[in-house]
Amino acid sequence: MKKIYGRWFVLVLLVLSILLPLNQGYCGALENFKGLEGTISIAGGTAHIPVMNDAAKNIMTFNPEVRITVEGGGTGIGVQKVGEGLVDIGNTGRALSPEEIEKYGLKSYPFALDGVATVVHPQNPVADLSAEQIRDIFAGKITNWKEVGGKDAAIHLFSRDEASGTREVFWKKLLDKGPVATSANIVPSNGAMKVAVAQDPEAIGYVSIGHVDESVKAVSLAGVAASQENALNGSYPVVRKLYMNTKGDPSGLVQAFIDYILSPDGAEIIKRHGYFSLQ
């Protein structure tokens, strides 16, 4: 008898543990912030910023006792800051390496799917490039736009810094770990990339799809548009997950923030900024 009761007990616990978190997620994730107060500091990946900012705005409007600060810095900064305990949540645009997880004891929460799009100036007539062409352009083998069907003008290369998660996925999945010309200009954030490309009619660069707006033009990759739909159905290959990371288990307030991002409300925000929710 005892044995049977024990089994029932385990089963009930199991069912509860599966149902309870789901339940929490569904009943208006903002409610979780009721009665909470304190600050949440967030830093890291620059692709995450629009989502983090909107979530922070909603939460702080709902409960003014909660203060949330969102900083950039890039994926590398995200890992370092959360690892050293300087911020509560460190955002990364790539999965953590085993060394990083071991060194700092980090916990990862993937929450969105993002693509990285090759972008050019809106007036640039080039609208489609093959992976081969993009590789050659970034390697410095193709240096004039007319070689890829554009006007007769030098190609201005823009790339990202060594610590960028955007650069990592672009380099791995599109450039096939090929070389990037040393003459390429290096910009330190998605925003700076957008400003640089939007100002320069001969520029080519790459940004997270969430950052693409009318100031730059996303080039389709061998006929496949760099849209979130194509990223989600797998036809556009240059994709990555966006992660939030905490050092060990998050505190109540930070957990509530993560739950909010992972809730249907959060998914709405994620979608609004051009990313896809993983939920």
């Binding site: 590398g76 390496s97 060394e99 070389p179 040393t182 390429a184 200009n185 290096i186 100002q199 520029a203």
Partner: protein, 301 residues
């Protein structure tokens, strides 16, 4: 007289002693901080010396994903950018000083000095930001200078940044020159221009060097201007219109990478080079100051 009696002689002395002690503590703290920064940098650079990575760091190729970690292009970039900015800023700064000191009417002189003081208060990021939107497109369209993020763009902006530093330092030196020199030369019938050329300029020549060195130090230490405007391409500055990366921008860009990598260690080598460079610059200024103390042209108060 009443107020003078409030503190007795002995309590004034104790007070003085305490102030002295407090100042000593402050001095020791700052001295220890500087020395420990140097030691820390050397400590972090040690793996480079022991693992033989030193030759790798002092090479001309920066391809962190191809296993090349040379920072020499950045050293050259820093040097070229600072020298160019200094060359651009130095003549106008000196000109402004002489103008404000003796050539211009007092109202204009006051205005110039106020302007220079105001310029020191403008945050670096404002210069960088404005240049990105105003100077960079002009450089690209008018000079067809590549992307517009070039050595020249950064140097032009940087020269505006260091101009007030040079001007203020030199102006302070001019103020210290014995007014009798000017009075005497005026009495001998020198025109103001002649006074500047034949009296003030030679008398203030040490100040010229000090101002130049300080301006250079300010230029080489600046991070934001080069990070925002120089393009950050890790290559040798072959022309005014190439995109370059400075040591400071290099540190800012690479600091966020994986802390176990060789790229990360190169950051400490860059830091050490910058630190030593600034040290040498300071030593230069000190030795010049010592020489100038022997000169009779300046009044020491």
């Amino acid at each position: 007289m009443q107020t003078g009696r409030k503190y007795s002689f002995s309590s004034g002395q104790t007070m003085e002693k305490w102030v002295e002690r407090a100042l000593l503590v402050a001095t020791v703290i700052s001295a220890v901080a500087i020395v420990s920064i140097l030691l820390l940098l050397v400590y972090f650079c040690l793996p480079l010396f022991t693992s033989g990575g030193l030759g790798e760091v002092f090479s001309w190729q920066w391809r962190p994903f191809g296993g090349r970690y040379g920072i020499l292009p950045m050293c050259a970039g820093s040097l070229y950018l600072s020298l160019l900015a200094l060359a651009l800023a130095f003549p106008p700064a000196i000109g402004i000083c002489f103008l404000a000191h003796c050539l211009a009417p007092p109202a204009v002189a006051r205005f110039l000095i106020t302007l220079i003081h105001f310029m020191t208060g403008i945050p670096t990021v404002i210069y960088g930001f404005v240049s990105v939107f105003l100077l960079v497109p002009r450089m690209r369209d008018w000079l067809e200078a590549g992307t517009g993020f070039t050595l020249l763009t950064a140097a032009l902006t940087l020269s505006i940044l260091i101009l007030p530093t040079i001007a203020l330092v030199f102006h302070a030196r001019l103020e210290r020159i014995d007014p009798n020199l000017r009075l005497a030369s005026g009495a001998m019938g020198f025109t103001p221009i002649q006074q500047v050329r034949h009296v003030l300029f030679p008398a203030a020549s040490q100040g010229l060097l000090t101002a130049a060195i300080l301006g250079f130090g300010r230029a080489i230490g600046d991070t934001l201007i080069s990070l925002m405007l120089a393009g950050n391409a890790p290559q040798f500055p072959a022309s005014l219109f190439t995109s370059i990366r400075t040591l400071t921008a290099h540190i800012a860009l690479v600091l966020a990478t994986d802390s176990q990598s060789m790229a990360y260690q190169s950051v400490f080598a860059s830091g050490l080079i910058l630190f030593l460079l600034m040290g040498v610059i300071n030593l230069f200024i000190r030795s010049f100051d010592r020489i100038s103390k022997r000169e009779v042209y300046e009044k020491h108060l």
